[in-house]
């Protein structure tokens, strides 16, 4: 797996891909904004300015919103909340999906059918419905939203991991590992896990894009956290209520979501082209 030749070739493919560059740049920008929000933001996220609905000016870069908050500041802090929520929920999805997928693929038989059936049932629900159900069961809150988005993304990882484990499981080196007396846990960890890394990286990157959309969507519906938290979906919901007065406060969070999602999508495509040589040259 860790042949240096493959890695350097993958890296070369990655560097040459324009979508990977643009995507990486957008994702980097978004992460930088989130991490450095304290340094970059001219105000605190709950500092009130002088007036509501100020036009963009030197003091208020992107103007102020209906609560006199500085839109630029809150968009930066919003990156923090959105990214954090998305990363945690994708983490949940990878943990549950990866574990169940590995078990299903490795052991096969009734374990496999049971897990596959459950995933099929999960897929029979339209995505947003699962999220709404989880939220309603746990009471509207950030925890519920993160869990909901996590559960929503389990099938993607479960299926991919299962498929990869199935192809690797019966290769000679894995059989050799088993023949030497390795336990299933050891075999999965040491022999099979390395070949799962690449597909998971690709899917996680693409999954972060969807997760940002889903998190923002749920908080736009007003079922996450407090309404005045600096989060993109919240900000858009608030801005929508005052659309008759001004459009400005909606612009920054909306563009931020779009660019972040676009960034993760492009980066994921670039990574896929670089890391998955089988796909390479098929779809272009």
């Amino acid at each position: 797996m860790a042949e240096p030749e493959f890695q350097s070739r993958a890296w070369r493919r990655f560097r040459r891909s324009r979508s990977a560059w643009i995507g990486g740049l957008l994702v980097g920008l978004c992460m930088f904004g989130a991490l450095a929000a304290d340094l970059l933001a001219p105000y605190g996220p709950t500092d009130r300015g002088a007036k509501t609905f100020l036009r963009p000016s030197a003091e208020h870069f992107l103007g102020t919103d209906s609560h006199e908050y500085d839109v630029f500041t809150r968009t930066l802090y919003g990156a923090r909340l959105s990214l954090l929520a998305s990363v945690v929920s994708v983490g949940i999805a990878i943990t549950i999906g990866g574990f169940s997928g590995a078990v299903a693929g490795y052991f096969g038989g009734w374990t496999d059918s049971l897990i596959l059936r459950s995933i099929d049932i999960l897929l029979a629900f339209p995505g947003i419905l699962i999220a709404l159900l989880v939220v309603v069961a746990l009471e509207p809150s950030w925890t519920a939203v993160i869990l909901a988005v996590g559960v929503l993304n389990v099938p993607v990882f479960c299926r991919q991991v299962r498929a990869t484990v199935l192809t690797v499981r019966d290769l000679d080196y894995v059989t050799a590992c088993r023949a030497l007396g390795a336990t299933p846990g050891y075999t999965l960890r040491r022999a099979i896990l390395p070949s799962l890394v690449n597909p998971i990286i690709v899917l996680a990157t693409l999954g972060l894009g969807t997760a940002i959309l889903e998190v923002a969507g749920l908080s736009f519906l007003g079922i996450a956290g407090q309404p005045d938290e600096p989060e993109w979906g919240n900000m858009l919901a608030e801005a929508k209520n005052h659309l008759a007065t001004t459009f400005y406060p909606a612009l920054a969070p909306g563009v931020a979501i779009s660019l972040a999602v676009l960034g993760f999508n492009l980066l994921g495509d670039g990574l896929r082209d670089a890391l998955d040589p089988r796909l390479h040259g098929r779809d272009e």
């Binding site: 079922i223 979906g233 779809d283």
Partner: protein
């Protein structure tokens, strides 16, 4: 063939049944007590107990489940709303036509435009139409529908942005389908107003399905256009439009039909966000309101309705698939 159909039908019924059980248990086993949330923070214990008994929530879970399924199947009774003065079924009947109207309008935009864009991208591959189509569809899946909705409202300030008809419009659609009913009753003023109200939400809702359809069309057209029989058709002198329309598109059509069909399900539920943006009085806003208020019976009823629709649509698609593709018909199953 018959066995495959029977199996598929059984699977659909099982899925719906399991969905019923999961939704039912999820709502009852988790910490959020539905009756408490109705009475707020200062609930009087006796009041809560009476209400629990009235709703039948004090009985053992299995008995409750049995009663629920029996009354749902028996007389289509899904319980009452806690907050609105109507039954769950009445709520669905009141809101579902609006959702269907919006979803079908969006589909009528998304399918033709998506297919045309995808075909153009495949025919002029790696040229301007391809780049436009591909970047457009990337944008379509990246921009959240609620932001797109807000942008549309800003760009077209003269268009109506709330609800299905202007306030105080003198029209009572008994079927719930305003556009069609107003046309049949000859109320062209209402027809016109309803169409105008439909425009922006339908455009916003159609973007994601359009992007998905365009991508699938492009890739399946690319597969087909490089096939031998297409080259043969070209060699025999068929004109390029004829090759695309008569030879390539029908064969590329199967995956497109499948995706387009799946989008109906997405449209019916994806409408949750779009409906919220445009205050569209459909099942999506109804469901979200119920989630906010913890109106459990409504959440349960709407969820089951949507899941059943979803399963029914995918079942219908498999049937269409079977009918469209003789290879599947004779090998005995859509999954191979």
């Amino acid at each position: 063939m018959g066995r495959y159909l029977a199996g598929r039908l059984l699977q659909a019924v099982a899925t719906i049944l399991i969905a019923v059980v999961v939704v039912f248990l999820l709502i009852r086993l988790l910490p959020n007590n539905p009756v408490l949330s109705r009475f707020g923070q200062h609930a009087v214990p006796e009041q809560v107990a009476i209400e629990m008994a009235r709703q039948g929530w004090d009985q053992p879970l299995l008995v409750q489940l049995k009663n629920f399924i029996a009354s749902a199947l028996g007389d289509g009774d899904l319980g009452e709303s806690f907050f609105l003065n109507e039954t769950v079924v009445e709520g669905i009947e009141r809101t579902f036509p609006a959702t269907l109207e919006l979803a079908l309008s969006a589909l009528m935009l998304a399918v033709p435009l998506g297919v045309v864009a995808g075909v153009a991208a495949a025919v002029w591959r790696n040229r301007l139409p391809d780049y436009l189509c591909m970047s457009g569809s990337l944008l379509g899946v990246s921009v959240p529908v609620f932001f797109l909705g807000i942008c549309l409202m800003f760009m077209f300030p003269q268009m109506p942005t709330r609800g299905r008809l202007p306030l105080g419009a003198d029209f009572d659609a008994s079927s719930g389908f305003i556009v069609i009913e107003s046309l049949f009753r000859g109320r062209f003023d209402i027809f016109n107003a309803a169409l105008r109200h439909l425009c922006l939400p339908a455009i916003a809702l159609s973007t994601i399905p359009m992007a998905v359809i365009a991508r699938i069309t492009r890739s399946s057209m690319l597969d087909v256009l490089s096939a031998d029989y297409v080259r043969t058709a070209r060699a025999k002198g068929a004109s390029p439009p004829r090759v695309v329309a008569r030879h390539a598109l029908p064969n590329a059509g199967i995956p497109i039909t499948n995706i387009a069909g799946l989008q109906i399900g997405v449209l019916l539920t994806g409408a949750v966000l779009t409906e919220t943006v445009f205050d569209w009085p459909g099942m999506g806003t109804h469901l979200v309101d119920a989630v906010r208020l913890s109106d459990y019976n409504v959440v349960q009823g709407c969820t089951l309705m949507i899941v059943t629709l979803f399963v029914a649509i995918s079942l219908a698609l498999d049937m269409i698939y079977l009918w469209l593709d003789p290879r599947i018909r004779f090998s005995g199953g859509a999954d191979g």
